[in-house]
């Protein structure tokens, strides 16, 4: 198993390099003059050269790439023109909020999705199953930003039940206010993952319930309830767990699109503002940070999976990737 882990770690380096190179190429390929964009209103021909020299834009490309790499290793991902501070500062300020939203949504999606997926599988081909299947289909097909707008329209504008903007921490306004403000964004982000979990749980459970071991358990007189929730579910877990990792990335993407609608002060709103203001530097810095983070998180998940289930490591050694 150590061999496989080492192999994965070694594979990490070229992947990281690809990601960094890709983003570096992006920074140098933007149409227009970055310096002009930076100076903005204070554009002055004399200052251009000085700034260029300072930013190292006159150096040959490989040298620039070298500087870029070194900066990254120091945690310097560039600056935001619009917010006038380093990209890292912005990210550090906004990330926790997005994480809180994503993680909560994901947890809700897992609990609700898996539960209804099991019910759906158990009552396969019944009316309840068809209804739940339709709901899960709607879940995975719904454009998350449209759902957000519709929710705001329904719950805030028309019904006035829930606030539609801002975030309130428990410290600021108490638990109830916190819940009221996080409810809509959470519900919204949870829609697609919930649909996905319902579908994958249903299909995995159907396989599990049709397996020989479940048949043997039935032949021994084990109760249906025990078969479904204890035996079949445990057997059905592996594919579901695989999906959890993928959905986390999906939740993040959803956050990018919907935070703005809810004025939730997270990475999503930051990126939206950056796009609106053509703050390319911040966009690229954020994308790079997120990509690097995901590569490392995926690696850690893979390794953890191998530790929990040594059989996976053995398969990986033989399969080769």
């Amino acid at each position: 198993m150590q061999k496989v882990i080492l192999k994965r770690l070694l594979q990490l380096i070229p992947t990281l390099l690809v990601v960094i190179t890709f983003t570096f190429a992006a920074t140098r390929l933007i149409p227009g003059d970055p310096v002009a964009a930076m100076l903005g209103e204070q554009y002055d021909a004399t200052k251009v050269d000085a700034l260029r020299e300072e930013l190292g834009l006159n150096d040959p490309i490989p040298v620039q790439f070298g500087h870029y790499l070194v900066d990254i290793l120091h945690g310097d991902f560039g600056d935001s023109y619009y917010f006038n501070t380093s990209a890292m500062n912005m990210i550090k300020a906004r990330l926790p909020n997005t994480l809180m939203l994503s993680v909560t949504s994901l947890c809700i999606a897992i609990l609700v999705g898996v539960f209804f997926g099991v019910i759906s599988a158990r009552r396969q081909s019944s009316i309840l199953d068809y209804a739940l299947t339709v709901i899960s289909l709607f879940g995975v097909s719904a454009p998350v930003f449209w759902v957000a707008i519709m929710m705001v329209l329904l719950f805030s504008v028309n019904l006035g039940w829930l606030p539609s903007f801002g975030m309130v921490t428990i410290a600021q306004g108490g638990f109830v206010e916190f819940l009221r403000h996080i409810a809509l964004p959470c519900a919204c982000l949870a829609v697609i993952p919930m649909g996905t979990f319902m579908r994958i749980t249903r299909s995995s459970m159907i396989d599990s319930l049709g397996s020989d071991s479940v048949r043997a358990l039935r032949a021994r007189g084990v109760s249906e309830k025990s078969i479904v929730w204890k035996h079949a579910l445990k057997n059905a877990l592996p594919p579901i767990l695989t999906v959890v990792g993928m959905q986390f990335a999906g939740c993040f993407a959803g956050a990018v699109l919907t935070e703005n609608i809810f004025s939730w002060p997270g990475m999503g709103t930051m990126i939206s503002s950056a796009i609106d203001n053509r703050d390319y530097s911040l966009i690229q810095a954020t994308v790079l940070v997120v990509a690097l983070a995901f590569v490392i998180i995926n690696l850690i998940t893979d390794i953890l999976y191998m530790v929990i289930n040594p059989k996976v490591a053995i398969d990986a050694e033989n399969g080769g990737m």
Partner: protein
């Protein structure tokens, strides 16, 4: 023992007829049509394509015609069945042309990503070794970016507009196609290679292509269908963020963006445009599921 030809209900003819009947009942098209939801999905997709193709014919007005006297008309108004937007443009016409945009972008991006991805997958799987390693590392790198962020990054480099959006989404699709094809190639390579060794080396390439491609087709087709659906959402997302298709060219995404700004005064704009995106994606998902069930009921996502 004499050979008597006896006719009864289990005669040879009857058994052959039963097998024939089973074969036709189980061929791909019949199986697909038995799946009601898949047929519904097919109808949805066909309607959407019709909308897009016939947009110039079906639109009651010019989608870009501004009329400042008739802004924010609600649905069922005189002359504007679905109402108008913030500049008095007819919503129905804009949505029809938006359908055209969505189809063009979604299919274009899928075809682009598919062709490049399949080629890379074939090369990577067949060649193996260093070529495989290099290509796969690049694909891994691309996989690291969440799809939406990758698209955003690419659009910032390439700029907005139809072709660039197709390019951006298409490039994002390449890694997945490549990976699917590559793993199929590797599996088939190991199976067929032993047989191929006995046959002349020169024809092993042909064997690969005549065995691998048919095997890969089913998974690729399912994935491609789902890909078109997801491309519709990607294009809508990019346009919604203000990056993809820019106003005044109508796209469901940027209509939704516009609608968001006037949510209280004209909720129909956001509601209807988003609903169309929703229904379209449902259609593609239903068909994708249907094809998957037909090709191989055991195929997992």
């Amino acid at each position: 023992m004499e050979e008597k030809v006896l006719n009864g209900s289990i005669s040879k003819e009857a058994q052959a007829a039963m097998i024939r009947k089973e074969r036709t009942a189980n061929n791909a098209w019949h199986k697909f049509c038995r799946n009601k939801s898949a047929v519904v999905g097919l109808i949805i997709i066909s309607l959407m394509i019709l909308m897009g193709v016939l947009a110039p014919v079906l639109s009651p007005h010019d989608p870009n015609q501004i009329n400042v006297l008739q802004t924010y008309l609600p649905p069922f108004s005189e002359g504007h069945i679905l109402g108008t937007d913030d500049l008095g443009r007819d919503l129905l016409s804009r949505l029809l042309y938006g359908a055209r945009m969505s189809i063009v972008v979604a299919i274009g991006a899928t075809v682009l990503g598919g062709v490049v991805g399949i080629l890379l997958g074939l090369i990577s799987g067949y060649a193996g070794g260093v070529v495989d390693a290099v290509i796969m590392r690049i694909m891994d790198g691309m996989f690291a970016f969440p799809f939406i962020l990758l698209s955003i990054l690419l659009v910032t480099i390439l700029g907005s507009g139809v072709f660039n959006v197709i390019l951006a989404i298409g490039i994002g699709n390449v890694p997945r196609f490549a990976r699917v094809v590559r793993s199929k190639v590797m599996v088939t390579k190991n199976e067929e290679f032993c047989n191929a060794e006995r046959i002349l080396g020169a024809s092993s390439l042909r064997i690969m292509f005549s065995h691998i491609l048919p095997n890969t087709v089913s998974e690729v087709v399912v994935y491609a269908t789902l890909c078109v659906g997801s491309a519709i959402i990607s294009e809508a997302s990019l346009s919604f963020l203000g990056l993809g298709i820019l106003i005044p060219t109508p796209s469901w995404g940027n209509i939704l963006r516009g609608g968001r700004g006037c949510l209280t005064t004209a909720p129909h704009i956001a509601t209807i445009s988003g609903l169309l995106i929703f229904i379209a994606v449902i259609g593609f998902n239903l068909v994708g599921d249907g094809i998957r069930d037909v090709m191989d009921p055991k195929m997992k996502k």
